[in-house]
């Protein structure tokens, strides 16, 4: 087999390039902008939202989610009945790194109070988020194969938040919805108060 060395001259002289196929794709589905909203949810089947077997993986991105209430925690829950109930049983892990703006402390630790063991309750995605005008949380959540009816539903999330007392906190959350029913709804909210502002986008990945 011959080896072709690609250099600047070769690229400049090229008249056509071959195509690369089979790389998969990431498709933008929906952007929702919170405005003093108690909850933000994505439910399969309306307003162009797809959350079914069209994609094997779904990605939610959070951009500058700002709480109305200082110290509120962003959380997620899942629905298997098109958003009528958000109460999927979950087992999860949660660990966190922290670094104070004044460099007075830096920590890494597992958070036993923020994981779940077969609970239908909210899974926290952050610790306390400050509500100063310049404070917020951003991050992402991957939900794998939500429409699968054989396996549990894995998810992995990472967020970074500016804590009310000026700490950068990076949260690492993972777990599974312990259900073989299809998940067709995902809801985000704060532990207290509204989501004052921020964008949540949904993408499908194949």
């Amino acid at each position: 087999m011959s080896i072709v060395k690609l250099n600047n001259r070769g690229v400049r002289s090229a008249t056509a390039f071959g195509s690369i196929t089979g790389l998969g794709s990431m498709t933008f589905i929906k952007k929702v902008t919170a405005s003093s909203s108690a909850t933000v949810s994505f439910v399969d089947g309306t307003s162009d939202v797809v959350l079914d077997n069209t994609y094997k993986e779904y990605l939610f991105t959070f951009n500058n989610i700002h709480p109305a209430t200082d110290g509120a925690k962003l959380s997620v829950n899942f629905s298997i009945d098109s958003g009528s109930n958000y109460n999927v049983t979950k087992t999860t892990t949660f660990f966190r790194t922290s670094h104070y703006e004044d460099d007075s402390d830096a920590t890494l630790g597992y958070r036993t109070g923020q994981d779940l063991a077969q609970s239908t309750g909210e899974q926290e995605l952050t610790d306390s988020v400050g509500n100063d005008n310049d404070q917020s949380t951003s991050g992402y959540l991957h939900l794998f194969d939500p429409s699968n009816t054989i396996f549990v539903k894995h998810f992995i999330a990472t967020t970074n938040a500016s804590h009310g007392i000026n700490i950068s906190q990076n949260h690492f959350i993972a777990g599974y919805g312990n259900t073989t029913s299809a998940i067709d709804g995902v809801r985000f909210k704060f532990s207290s108060g509204n989501i004052d502002a921020g964008d949540i986008c949904l993408y499908g990945i194949n």
């Binding site: 952007k31 929702v32 309306t46 307003s47 109070g113």
Partner: protein, 70 residues
């Protein structure tokens, strides 16, 4: 002001039952925050007390920090 859900970008007003449930949830969140703050204050006090006692035993600040990470 009445709360609303934002479902796929569409505002849906809370029902009266949902308002009541959310009020209770937020009240519990306040209690949880207070409990967490109290626990942190207690822990900080314990650490400070331990440092003082160790210093009184003759350990230097650096020895306490290196040996106990406090």
């Amino acid at each position: 002001m009445a709360r609303h859900h934002l479902i796929n970008g569409v505002q849906v007003a809370f029902t009266a039952e949902e308002e009541t449930a959310r009020d209770a949830e937020e009240a519990q969140a306040v209690k949880d925050n207070e409990a967490r703050e109290a626990a942190k204050v207690a822990k900080d006090a314990n650490v400070a007390s331990a440092k003082t006692k160790l210093n009184n035993l003759g350990l230097t600040v650096d020895e306490v920090k290196d040996a106990f990470n406090i």
